[in-house]
């Protein structure tokens, strides 16, 4: 019992942060699956969602602010794709990547301008921010809600991809971009819907993440973004279940390492893991073997 009581806070924190990472990692992995693009701006979209919430909640009731945050974040993700990536569709892949890095810095610096460089306190969401006790471990309710909500969203997303027409189109485009286009699939709208889903999940992730760690800075997206990217690679980039499992593993390991007293190395571990995975299993846990198309 005392072992459970001592280790439970770390495991709970790990599962919770893992769920939040998972929601962001899905955005990385889906965009990669379809465009073969690592969307470096995704972590900053997550940060922007936090900023939207901070500014909107100052003037609107929470009931209106939360849906509006989701809508604005989706709009931001959509606009980024339309303005910064779509014109570069036929350009070399490196150009799109550089464009993504550019968007990332643009968002960070816009946030820097609007906040004046200071950390903003994230509003308390009623119910979610409440404190609860489970088996003697005290935590916020959001810690318990996160993994459940994450699983519901992931299952919903999997069903969406499997059974709807857009989902089928997404799978087709990710299999073969050119052929899909020849078959009459509107590739651009498929790509847009990918960005919309990714941004929506990032917005939900940011609601959960910042409720737990209630301070938003212009660089808040940096570390979570990088770790989620690692999670996506770890699980096999392009694979949704892979990204989710990768995110949970990283979140839990990170917190257990802190619990063991090696706090200094908790981040080093994440990136060491990335290197090891790439060496042992270059395609990640659930990654598809790359087959050369002739």
């Amino acid at each position: 019992m005392s072992f459970l009581q001592n280790s439970l806070p770390y495991i709970l924190a790990g599962i919770s942060v893992g769920g939040q990472y998972a929601l962001i990692a899905i955005g990385y992995t889906m965009v990669y699956g379809i465009l073969r693009l690592i969307n470096f701006a995704h972590g900053d979209v997550f940060m922007a969602a936090g900023m939207f919430m901070v500014f909107l909640s100052a003037s609107l009731p929470l009931g209106a602010a939360v849906p509006l945050v989701l809508v604005l974040t989706v709009l931001l993700g959509f606009m980024i794709e339309r303005v910064a990536y779509k014109p570069l569709r036929s350009a070399p892949r490196m150009s799109v990547m550089i464009s993504a890095i550019g968007v990332s810095y643009l968002l960070q610096n816009c946030a820097l301008y609007f906040t004046g460089g200071l950390a903003k306190v994230y509003p308390q969401l009623p119910w979610l921010s409440d404190t609860v006790t489970i088996f003697g471990a005290v935590t916020k309710r959001v810690t318990l809600i996160t993994p459940i909500l994450t699983l519901i969203l992931v299952i919903g997303l999997s069903l969406f991809i499997k059974y709807t027409k857009v989902g089928m189109a997404m799978r087709a485009v990710s299999k073969d971009f050119e052929t899909a286009r020849l078959m009459g699939i509107k590739v651009n709208s498929v790509i847009s819907s990918t960005f919309i889903i990714g941004s929506l999940l990032a917005a939900v992730g940011s609601l959960l993440y910042f409720t737990n760690y209630a301070s938003v800075t212009p660089t808040s997206g940096g570390m979570p973004g990088l770790k989620c990217f690692v999670a996506a690679v770890f699980g096999g980039i392009g694979s949704i279940p892979g990204a989710v499992i990768g995110a949970f593993i990283i979140g839990i390991c990170e917190n257990i390492i802190k619990g063991l007293g090696w706090t200094t190395f908790s981040d080093a571990f994440t990136f060491a893991l990335l290197i090891v995975i790439l060496l042992v299993k270059p395609t990640g846990l659930f990654g598809e073997k790359a087959t050369d198309k002739v």
């Binding site: 001592n6 806070p9 924190a13 005290v138 760690y213 940096g222 802190k258 007293g261 706090t263």
Partner: protein, 390 residues
């Protein structure tokens, strides 16, 4: 078409260069004081409050008489972004602006990083609230008007051991941060010297998940959580301590003496105690006039964190400005080298107490630290008894 574009770009660059050349020309009757402070990054909030003190002092006394001639004081502000990498280039910007003396910075790390630039240019710098000993050690061009971390660490350790009566302390600092790392080290030295026991951990840059650190402190049965980190991390730590229902009090150094902390702790079941340079209320006329000045301008109010609490760093910034003016008057010149010679023997009576420097490193001779506790019901500081050592 392309040639025309290239021409336009080239012309823009030439004009930009010309503009640079023009701005560095200084008027014969002005003297420039550089302010080397963070306005963004981890320490942005504190840096802005410290800068406010200088701005207010400048509005109170915009001219100075040096050697029988009246000079307009121009204050040049740069943002060192709380980053040790950016600090040298921000410092170089001040050197290029032809400053006679530089004030700052909030945060010891940036001061240590920017110090060599001032030394190479022969411009004296006066640290306002950078408390790490390494700022002035081995750099004859860096002075400071605040107390040092070995002193502050000892005061805090004594407070924890004697006043709070705890024997086990949890210490947390940011990895690679000169300020928090230094202060934690001196705290541990003093606390263990008193017979206490410390658990020491560090968190990496960019970390915002403090769950496990608080859980570690709880698991180790620590009686006090000592974490003199930046106010950004402080908000998250306070939040997490409350979320986990931890019963230990939080203890920190001068950085936490900020309304950011008051806002984070307001209405929560948590005890926060800090050591600081100036308790609000110590000089009523200074307090009331600076409050009026802060409230009179929405930018100032925003820079002070949205209310008119007088932070200790603001009072220190105010004193630093007058200390710099006094040094220049004593030197009878605006030449950096002469100002530096005069600094060693400059003395003023500031709102934060009398300021004089010692002759070894140019550190302030101060032996009193003020102790404040956050009143979580009203969101204000309650002054406790000041501690005098030696």
């Amino acid at each position: 078409m392309k040639k025309a574009l290239a021409l336009v770009l080239a012309l823009t660059m030439i004009f930009a260069l010309a503009a640079c050349g023009g701005s560095s020309k200084s008027d014969a009757n002005t003297v420039t004081i550089g302010v080397f402070e963070p306005a963004s990054g981890d320490n942005g909030a504190g840096g802005k409050q410290e800068t406010l003190g200088v701005q207010y002092a400048n509005s109170v006394q915009p001219t100075v008489e040096i050697g029988g001639k009246t000079y307009n004081v121009v204050v040049k502000y740069v943002d060192n972004e709380s980053s040790n990498d950016k600090a040298p280039s921000a410092a170089a910007e001040l050197v290029n602006a032809g400053c006679s003396i530089v004030l700052g910075s909030y945060g010891s790390g940036v001061s240590i990083a920017g110090g060599p630039t001032f030394e190479a240019a022969g411009i004296p710098a006066v640290g306002i609230t950078c408390t790490n000993p390494q700022v002035t050690e081995g750099n004859t061009y860096y002075f400071r008007i605040c107390f040092l971390d070995p002193f502050q660490g000892t005061v805090l350790a004594n407070y924890a051991y004697n006043e709070l009566g705890v024997t086990k302390a949890y210490c947390l600092n940011k990895l690679g941060d000169d300020y928090s790392g230094g202060l934690v080290k001196y705290f541990i030295d003093a606390f263990e010297g008193l017979g206490g026991e410390c658990v020491h951990e560090e968190f990496p840059d960019g970390n915002s998940d403090f769950t496990s650190y608080v859980a570690n402190a709880k698991a180790a049965d620590c009686g006090v959580f000592f974490s003199p980190v930046s106010t950004e991390a402080a908000q998250l730590i306070i939040d997490q301590v409350v979320a986990q229902g931890a019963s230990f009090p939080l203890l920190a150094g001068d950085t936490w003496d900020s309304n950011v902390i008051l806002q984070a702790a307001k209405g929560k079941d948590v005890q926060v105690t800090v050591t600081t340079f100036y308790p609000e209320g110590a000089d009523a006329s200074f307090d009331s006039s600076i409050k009026a000045w802060i409230n009179g301008n929405s930018t100032n109010l925003a820079n002070n964190g949205g209310d008119d609490t007088v932070a200790a760093v603001t009072a220190m910034g105010y004193d630093a400005y007058f200390f710099a003016l006094a040094a220049m008057q004593k030197a009878g010149s605006t030449e950096p080298a002469k100002v530096m010679d005069a600094l060693w023997s400059t003395e003023i009576n500031g709102v934060t107490g009398p300021i004089a420097l010692d002759q070894t490193n140019g550190d302030a001779i101060r032996n009193t630290a003020f102790v404040k506790q956050a009143d979580t019901a009203t969101g204000t500081w309650i002054a406790l008894d000041p501690v005098t050592v030696g």
